[in-house]
Point group: C2
Chain length 414, copies 2
Amino acid sequence: MERVTATYYIETPYAPERAAEVLAGEQSSGTFVAVPGETQELKQRFAAKVESVEVLETVNEPAIPGALSKEGKYHRAIVKVSWSIENFGYNLPVMVSTLQGNLYEITQFTGLKLMDIELPASFGEKFNGPAFGIEGCRKLTGVQNRPLIGTIIKPSIGLTPLQTADMVKILAEAGIDFVKDDELLSSSANSSFDDRVNAVMKVINSHADRTGKKVMYAFNISGETDEMLQRYEKILKSGGTCAMVSINSVGLSGAKKVFDQRQLAIHAHRNGWGMLTRHPLLGIDFRAYQKIWRLAGVDQLHVNGIQNKFWESDDSVVNSIEACLKKMYDHKTVLPVVSSGQWGGQAFETYRRTKTVDLLYMAGGGIMAHPMGAAAGVVALQQAWKAAVDGLTLEEAAKQYKEFAAAIAKFGKK
Amino acid sequence: MERVTATYYIETPYAPERAAEVLAGEQSSGTFVAVPGETQELKQRFAAKVESVEVLETVNEPAIPGALSKEGKYHRAIVKVSWSIENFGYNLPVMVSTLQGNLYEITQFTGLKLMDIELPASFGEKFNGPAFGIEGCRKLTGVQNRPLIGTIIKPSIGLTPLQTADMVKILAEAGIDFVKDDELLSSSANSSFDDRVNAVMKVINSHADRTGKKVMYAFNISGETDEMLQRYEKILKSGGTCAMVSINSVGLSGAKKVFDQRQLAIHAHRNGWGMLTRHPLLGIDFRAYQKIWRLAGVDQLHVNGIQNKFWESDDSVVNSIEACLKKMYDHKTVLPVVSSGQWGGQAFETYRRTKTVDLLYMAGGGIMAHPMGAAAGVVALQQAWKAAVDGLTLEEAAKQYKEFAAAIAKFGKK
């Protein structure tokens, strides 16, 4: 019988082997006293199994509150635990409850983070994965051999639909591939969802009629389930190609219901992610997280960016990009969304470390605040990426491209 | 215009006032450079506002990774930030993205936890809250003036529907009020959801016909949205009164779609909660969490238990019970679910500290493994609670009640 294997980074005042057994017990047939009906055969079939325990360093202070060590020693380890898929079948929420449920409550751990999940072959058939993925998003935008260049409408919230549409017009004429709502805006007092779709799609459709290029706009449909489905339909009917969902706020079941329509590319915004991953010994690592959401069907997934304005390290960003680009079954591959403080200067390091152009590269102020205007902002980003792929340094690129040189002058390190 | 106010416990290497302004900017109209269209009037209307900053202690080590302090000083503070409801209206997922979104990414914080939310009056009308709450759950089970006594079918996973039904028969005859699936079981290879409902409800309906008492069984419907709705309907048609949902795994939008049916009591299981709250300076506190889920419509919500087997302190459990019992608008009040390692001995301390019997008191092994049998296990729990309310000590109760005395002998501290 196929099994799902989870890898955890743990810390415990006990022997790691013992703590791992507690985890496996709690998350399958465990209880605090034996009860009738708990036969050996049944345990064999449904019990979680500790597959391996790799002991790492010992520290003197616990990472998070839990049982105290009498000797003041807390042992770290990588443990692998597996479950038969007979326990939960192809039910993602129940799989999440099994791999990420009450185990975070166990006092025997002073640290516990889900690092990765190995999923069995049959999941590749039972779940369809992304409906569009990299390949589909390239087709929808007509962009090949370079990253999709995107931006977020700023200010995040406050513009009227017509103001938003005016910005989209400027951006479309500037040659942008992708534009999105901020996650703070879905339907505000002065920008109802439908009015915004009407105003923005009028601009996008008219630009497409004239030029043949349809800008992908990710409208933030996040909300209650029926509301999201109505908004999804509204985008579709208006000729839009993409819907944005704040996946952590909406949650797995509501999001998947929307994704299962499979007619719009899904831009998955991971806001709230810091809460789930920022502590090194609590929560979930991006490697595990992105697998769950790829099964659910996201097409584009945020990964932060190199030299971002947030807390995340470049190493972590690179790992996230690589995780997204790794093939999963015969599913389409998810498009990593690079954002946060990006203006093009980071293209060099991003390309040097990932060797890919399969990215949606988002710049906010980097485009709209470009000293030569938004069109030059978009051009500068394309120049930066071309230069990075051509093996130029930032300085060489500045000499060659005047729009990019102007971007450096404004956004580069002072 | 009404505002939503969030209280955060923060840590920062900067002046707390400055860090709070960064948070407010990031979560409303902020971007890294000024852009056209960002007028003062617009800022005024949609900008988040720092309402207060109460500076607390300074520490020498950051709680979580973030910006480094040159002086090695990290300042803690309680900050309140408010948003106009014009920003998100009555959209819970977007409110969550605003209050708990990218702010966890901000490098200026080395700790950030959402402690509480003050919601405006109009939320009380726009959201219906629990369909049943304490009052409705008491009516459905016919239990007044004492806690509802409940248990979880153990082993968590592995029993066939008939084995589960046999246990329910023993428990019903023992006088139990409430029984639930474990969160690990929804539909397993040897216990399909429908078969389990059929087998269990046959027992419960037949017991109700004979005795007039209908045991409330919380079937775990957690799954995809349509699947949950089908399972909900199945319970309803079979004469059941309650559905269980793993709220963190299912997520807000899918869960609310189910809750909005308002025909079954909703048993909200918070597995995964430890990940969101266990670190003192990351995530969300139960006070804030329970408000969001009450708006969504949960009737019963897990709070752990006094002297539990998990990491949570008794103080935290008491705070959670009090949070649930606090009136919210004219909504029905949510029933706190006390569980984890409970066997009746904790009734005394639970009552002493909370002075309430408005609880669903869950014991697992404490009932099924009672030395005189399950019926005596249920009786022992009722005795413990009667004794606690009557002001007896555990020792006095042991002298008066033989079933409870036997429970102490088996489960009390050795």
